[in-house]
Amino acid sequence: MNIVVCMKQVPDTESVIKPSGDGVGIKTDDLKFVMNVYDEFGVEEALATKEKAGEGKVTILSMGPDRAVEAVRMGLAMGADNAVLLNDAALEGADAFATATALAKALESMDYDVIFCGKQAVDGDLGQVGIALAEILNIPHVSLITKFELSDDKKKAKVNRQIEGGEEVIECPLPAVFTCQKGLNEPRYASLPGIMKAKKKPLETKDLAALGLDASAVGEAGSKTKITKAASPPERVAGKIIDGEETLEIVVKLVTLLREEAKAV
């Protein structure tokens, strides 16, 4: 049983994000980078699935710059067996299409039964790569899973998927891509021994040549979309605190304002 988790390193959700001077990127100097939250669910599910099956291998696959190695190590410290990091200047500036192209190429030389991706990476918030990857690999996908169960013969998975107004229980043949939604599990923390062990686990870094792709197919060159402007949204300004002696008085004022000023009720 080979499980691959696609993992991206992204700014911590607490971060203040400001546009950079060139107007198309963001300022990265003061940012703290971490494993994408939805990918943590993927790592956890991979490890739990392996533990339950009593065998298997969990591989972290990530594309990113040098600093991404920290998040990759975190995945190994949580318990993954090995990792592959795609790192090359030519891979930078990739949209979902170019990202999925590179990840798919790397997967060509790997064994996989299950691929976990996050529902979305909380930097670009695209929510595309997992599904695009399944399409390129020509395997099925199920998005937004909140429960994952391997069949006894390990040829299928039974998963719960969030839909509007409820859930679907879906059976999916393997290999397949699953995108993880919050609610799937509670990711474990990396333990101190885990962190120590991670240092000795295989971590392979691949550049473009090792990956066997042309520079025109990846990164900004291989992308189908390109950011032409990145700006801060208009600041929301604090409005009125409604004053009054009694709760009733305040609420009456609120209702009047909502009706007459905001025209919201």
Binding site: P11, T13, S15, I17, P19, I26, V37, D95, A96, F97, A100, V122, D123, D125, L126, G127, Q128, G130, I131, E135, I136, P140, H141, V142, S143, L144, I163, E164, G165, G166, E167, E168, E171, C172, K182, S223, K224, T225, K226, I227, T228, K229, A230, S232, P233, R236, A238, G239, K240, I241, I242, T247, I250, V251, L254, L257, L258, A262, A264, V265
Partner: protein
């Protein structure tokens, strides 16, 4: 045809989704600028009756793909049918609603057509380059970005519900329906649905709700959400929650608003006992009007709220419900 704009007409339980009308109105302007037609793709089983409604909002042609296997959504079947129609028709622009279904469908279709996808857009317009320019939030709305497309068509955008305006429909219009042979067999659908669990019932999904009443840790326990249900009932609103309330197990995960929950854009968002953490604000700060009810005057939510009530929510909410009932009568 070459300069057309094509809208995917999502249907849920026999009705067309509101975001489809929003996309048709925006799509009409794009098609006029391109000098092409506005078309729509209607996929399902027994959905032909709905075609005229698409014409009311400007679609001159409706491609209709009906098949029993399309009655329920599956990624495989819908991706195939939509991608096949688009490949055949070659529109310049393809628009898909950024609903739960659309978020599953759009990436696969765009990838199959080898074209760019701008997801969860809040604006779409013709750019100076003669191509589509899509505007979309990134970093949980902390950045708003414009996207340009490569030469590959169709330029595809998934559009966030509840953002683009809808013009009044012209109900005298009739659609020109073009029936498409949806050649789907059960082998094309690799996944199978073995069970459906309905939890939300009839209520409008948070991502499409016009009014949302949300509760946080200040609600103190699951039993108190009944109070919010009552307020929501009067307003015709959907109930949401902060992550603290979800993680405490008081309310379902699917009701969570925020960075790791749903991003919502209602006309009115009422936050009860929610402090306003950055990850919560990420999910609701584009609401048109925000009301915060919190007993702590220092709570960050007041920095974003249009109207703040500094008081005990257990006192405020019942009175609020009663006062609203009076004006609704």
């Amino acid at each position: 045809m070459a300069n057309d704009v094509c809208v995917f007409a999502e249907v849920k339980e026999g009705a067309i989704k509101k975001v489809v009308f929003e996309m048709l109105c925006a799509g009409k302007e794009l098609a006029d600028k391109l000098g092409g037609e506005l078309t729509a793709v209607l996929i399902g089983s027994n959905v032909e009756d709905l075609a005229d409604q698409l014409a009311w909002y400007g679609a001159s042609k409706v491609f209709l793909a009906e098949n029993e296997l399309l009655e329920e959504y599956s990624s495989d079947a819908y991706t195939k049918v939509l991608a096949d129609i688009v490949r055949e028709q070659q529109p310049s622009i393809l628009l898909i609603g950024s609903t739960i279904l659309g978020k599953d469908l759009a990436p696969g279709v765009a990838s199959r057509l080898q074209t760019g996808l701008a997801s969860d857009c809040i604006n779409i317009a013709m750019g100076d380059d003669g191509k589509l320019t899509a505007t979309r939030p990134m970093y949980a709305g902390k950045i708003i970005a414009d996207l340009a497309f490569s030469d590959d068509k169709p330029w595809t955008a998934s559009v966030r519900p509840n953002v683009l305006p809808v013009s009044p429909p012209d109900e005298s219009k009739k659609a020109e329906v073009v029936k498409v042979d949806a050649a789907i067999s059960s082998e094309d659908i690799r996944t199978s649905v073995v069970e459906k669990i309905v939890t939300g019932g009839e209520k409008v999904d948070l991502t499409e709700a016009e009014i949302i009443v949300s509760g946080g840790r200040g609600m103190k326990g699951p039993e108190n959400f009944k109070m919010l249900e009552e307020l929501a009932e009067v307003l015709g609103a959907t109930v949401g929650a902060s992550r603290a309330a979800v993680d405490a197990g008081w309310i379902a995960q699917s009701d969570q608003v925020g960075q790791t929950g749903k991003v919502v854009n209602p006309n009115l968002y009422i936050a009860c006992g929610i402090s306003g953490a950055i990850q919560h604000l990420a999910g609701m700060s584009t609401s048109k009007c925000i009301v915060a009810i919190n007993k702590d005057s220092e709570a960050p939510i007041f920095q974003k709220a249009d109207y703040g009530v500094v008081d005990d929510l257990f006192k405020v909410v019942p009175i609020f419900t009663e006062e609203l009932k009076k004006i609704k009568e």
